[in-house]
Amino acid sequence: MDFTIIIDSLPSLLKATLMTILLAGISIVIALLIGFITAIVRIIKVKFLHKVAGLYVSVIRGTPLLVQIFVIYYGLPQIGISLDPISSGIVALSLNAGAYLSESFRASILAVDHGQTEAAMSMGMTYAQSLKRIILPQSLRIAIPTLSNSFIILIKDTSLVSVITVTELLQMSSLIIAKTFEPLTIYLIAAAIYWVVISSFTVLLDKMELRTSKYLVR
């Protein structure tokens, strides 16, 4: 292993890591929105919309992410919708994670003790009020472990976007290897960078889980 290669390639790799983080960051935020709305629509069974939501979750979970990326980047132009690689990547990642997140949210809401809903409703609250004031705050703590699973998977899924020419970490690694012919070194560094990014993110999520569990600690 040649250490000068590591030092020379680090700046490019780190710059590409910023792209990875950007893709993941924006997609996570959009996915959270999509996932939350989908979960609520399905729980309160909004007329007609909840069937659409169910179909969305089924299709996304039933097809490979790579296929979804190709449909959006290569397929949509055929019906007149052309997105650049980065936008395609974000749309694909958001839609994909959104479906899984919606199931996390749905499960966490259903996991809150039914007695809580009964207590809230017997005061005369609407279901919406009981969700907002009583159920959702308690469901957050329950949701975090499965949400963090989805976030971590999303960060790693950004590597798939390399196939539609976005220069994120994996793509940059492959480009450097084409010049230096040191696959083991470079791919190991890339892996190490993914590991550092995901581990730091996990520390953040652990802190969040602790914060939402305050009321359970004596």
């Binding site: 007695g115 207590a119 005061m123 005369g124 609407t126």
Partner: protein
């Protein structure tokens, strides 16, 4: 003057006819204790009164609001049911306090969410309610830091904060350790003396003898007999009542 009027109330869970036609009338400031063996329908009756269970047939009138069973659950009906619920305070066997809120925040929840009371007003109101149930020094404790008896007393304060027409207690002490039962019964007794209209489902015979204006004995989804506590405990007319009392005492 009847505050609650229940007419021919029926409730089926699938094939199981839990309530087979209940007629009941509760007057202002009356304390009614409902007793009976397990499965007699006592809790179901109570839960139908504030529509935690949707009755299969019959009519429920509380104050000025009347709901007939079997109607389509449209927006108007939902609103009537909500208004009905605002006028009944329900106390659960398992307390159902909101664990993510302190005792005082639990009691403040009703006034803020339902009556639109300001936080400061609600806090003052909640504090006085907590003092009333003997927990003035526990306002900022979370439910997890309170004993069962204390949690149930907070639950009572929470229901009282909405100024209900009637308080409904579903076996309020059944989930408590024996030594904690008295502190809760004490609070309920005090409320009865103040003239609060109450329906209590309980197995606490001695308590019933002390507070009840009327005792209703239920079995198999029907009211078997009802009367004053002297009549029911002293000289029950029905065989089933006698059998139940002999097993419990």
């Amino acid at each position: 003057m009847s505050i609650i009027q229940v007419t021919n109330l029926k409730k089926n869970f699938g094939q199981n006819e839990v309530l087979q036609g209940i007629d009941l009338s509760i007057n202002k400031s009356e304390v009614v204790v409902i007793m009976g063996p397990s499965g007699s329908g006592k809790s179901t009756l109570l839960r139908c009164l504030n529509f935690l269970e949707e009755p299969s047939a019959g009519t429920i009138e509380i104050g000025d609001y009347q709901v007939i069973a079997g109607g389509k659950m449209d927006r108007k009906r939902k609103k009537v049911i909500r208004e009905l619920r605002k006028r009944t305070g329900f106390v659960f066997q398992s307390f159902n306090l909101f664990p993510h809120k302190t005792a005082i925040e639990n009691v403040m929840e009703g006034p803020i969410a339902i009556h639109g009371t300001s936080k400061e007003e609600a806090r003052k109101l909640a504090e006085s309610q907590l003092i009333k149930v003997g927990l003035g020094d526990r306002c900022d404790h979370y439910p997890v830091q309170l004993s069962g008896g204390q949690q149930q007393r907070v639950a009572i304060a929470r229901s009282l904060a909405l100024n209900p027409l009637v308080m409904l207690y579903d076996e309020p002490t059944s989930a408590l350790d024996p030594e904690l039962v008295q502190e809760v019964l004490h609070v309920i007794k005090a409320l009865a003396l103040e003239g609060m209209t109450m329906i209590i489902v309980t197995h606490e015979m001695n308590f019933a003898k002390e507070v009840a204006d009327r005792v209703v004995f239920m079995d198999n989804g029907l009211i078997v007999e009802q009367g004053t506590s002297e009549e029911i405990f002293g000289s029950p007319k029905e065989e089933r009542t006698r059998k139940f009392l002999s097993m419990v005492e």
